[in-house]
């Protein structure tokens, strides 16, 4: 198995694990963590694609690498917004449930 296929496997595993965590865990902070895990998996997949595109004297295709950097920044902003919403919800209600009861 080549090195990139190995990391592709790793990426697929991260996506699957993150998705499982997202579905199964009720606490919103754990869901946010799970999202970041899926995101890491998707970015890693970009990285595998970049590595496979090594050419013209470069170690990897710079376009997907740049896309990952952009994606990491956007993912951080999303995490920050989600955490802020969650903390404010907790401040207002003392609970973190997302179930629309009461």
């Amino acid at each position: 198995m080549t090195e990139t296929a190995l990391y592709g496997l790793c990426a697929a595993g991260l996506v699957g694990l993150g998705l499982f965590g997202l579905i199964v865990q009720p606490h919103p902070l754990r869901k946010i963590l799970a999202f970041n895990l899926i995101g890491s998996g998707v970015f890693l997949l970009f990285g595998v694609v970049a590595r496979r595109g090594a050419a013209a004297g470069l170690g990897g295709d710079p376009v997907p690498q740049a896309l990952v950097i952009t994606g990491l920044v956007v993912a951080f902003a999303a995490t920050a917004l989600a955490v802020a919403l969650l903390l404010r919800l907790f401040q207002e209600t003392g609970r973190t449930t997302l179930r629309s009861d009461g």
């Binding site: 990391y7 990426a11 996506v15 895990l37 595109g53 902003a77």
Partner: protein
């Protein structure tokens, strides 16, 4: 190759720990560790720019954000565990996710050989940008509009976070007041690290035009230093309505837009750079941009205003 196998096993193991850990605090620690392992992975994948961003942003700032949140939410753990779905549903979810992973693995193996790539085009055109780092060329020249829109996305997330403040503290200061303990360990570490960190951040930004680095990596390090200093009580948060703060946030994207618009006249298109001055223009954009991104990232960690400002 053996190193890669060990690394992948560690990554998957830590990821399982992050999902399976009972306590949220432990899960966040796992997540930070995962970020550091992924930094190694990026180095192995010949992507040093990404490695820098992952370690500073994905691990550092995100980890700090999540640790702070899990500390404040610690008492909500007990009620949340009641809502966990039953064992059967967990099993179904596990099977579905396993199938999804297997499908992705199959697709990765089906990727075409030789892989299509834009590396030759990126290298062929880099002379026109005056840069030496192809990733920076993609971010600041070929796909500059993505970077510009992304900075606006960052600002919007900040406005969204600020909107969560109660009306009475609008315009106030984010986060609690922390007082520097002159004999404390944190204060000592901060006083030592922050000046070094600032220098490192500036260096990594500056060198990004020719070597791995760039404004996002540098800005993240600067933001992390501010967060450290703020946690140690060395600096206090600025009022979110302060004119200077608002200018600092807006100057980066504003200069980016302005130079982009001048591209209409000088090079025939929005965000085009005339070849003779490309590098100078890009640096002119990057300096205020790094400042703005650093301020935005730091404020994203700080959160919505919680204390009314002194005025």
């Amino acid at each position: 190759m053996a190193f890669d196998i060990v690394l992948v096993l560690l990554v998957i193991g830590v990821a399982v720990w992050t999902i399976a850990a009972r306590d949220t605090f432990a899960a966040v620690i796992g997540f930070v560790a995962l970020g550091l392992l992924l930094t190694l992975v990026w180095v192995r994948l010949a992507a040093p720019d990404v490695a820098l961003t992952e370690s500073a942003l994905g691990s550092g700032l995100t980890g700090g954000l999540l640790l702070g949140a899990s500390a404040r939410l610690a008492c909500s753990e007990a009620t949340a565990s009641d809502e966990e779905p039953g064992a059967i549903l967990q099993l179904i979810a596990a099977v579905l996710c396993a199938l999804m992973s297997a499908g992705l693995v199959a697709l990765v193996l089906l990727l075409p050989q030789p892989a299509p790539t834009l590396a030759p085009q990126a290298v062929a055109n880099i002379a026109a940008t005056g840069l030496g780092n192809p990733v920076t060329a993609v971010l600041m020249a070929y796909r500059a509009i993505d970077t510009l829109l992304e900075v606006v996305v960052l600002l919007l997330a900040l406005v969204g976070i600020w909107s969560l403040a109660p009306d009475r503290v609008w315009g106030g200061l984010p986060g609690p007041r922390r007082h520097a303990d002159p004999n404390g360990l944190l204060t000592f570490i901060a006083q030592l690290l922050v000046p070094i960190g600032i220098l490192v951040g500036i260096y990594i930004f500056w060198v990004g035009s020719v070597a791995p680095g760039g404004e996002f990596q540098g800005a993240t390090i600067l933001a992390a230093m501010w967060v450290l200093a703020s946690m140690a009580g060395l600096v206090d948060a600025p009022s979110v309505s302060g004119r200077r703060l608002r200018l600092m946030l807006a100057v980066g994207p504003a200069v980016f837009f302005a130079i982009g618009l001048t591209g209409f006249a000088t090079a025939g298109a929005f965000l085009a750079y005339p070849e003779a001055h490309a590098k100078a223009l890009i640096l002119t954009i990057e300096v205020p941009l790094t400042l703005s991104i650093a301020a935005t990232l730091a404020l994203l960690v700080a959160g919505p205003p919680e204390r009314a400002s002194g005025r």
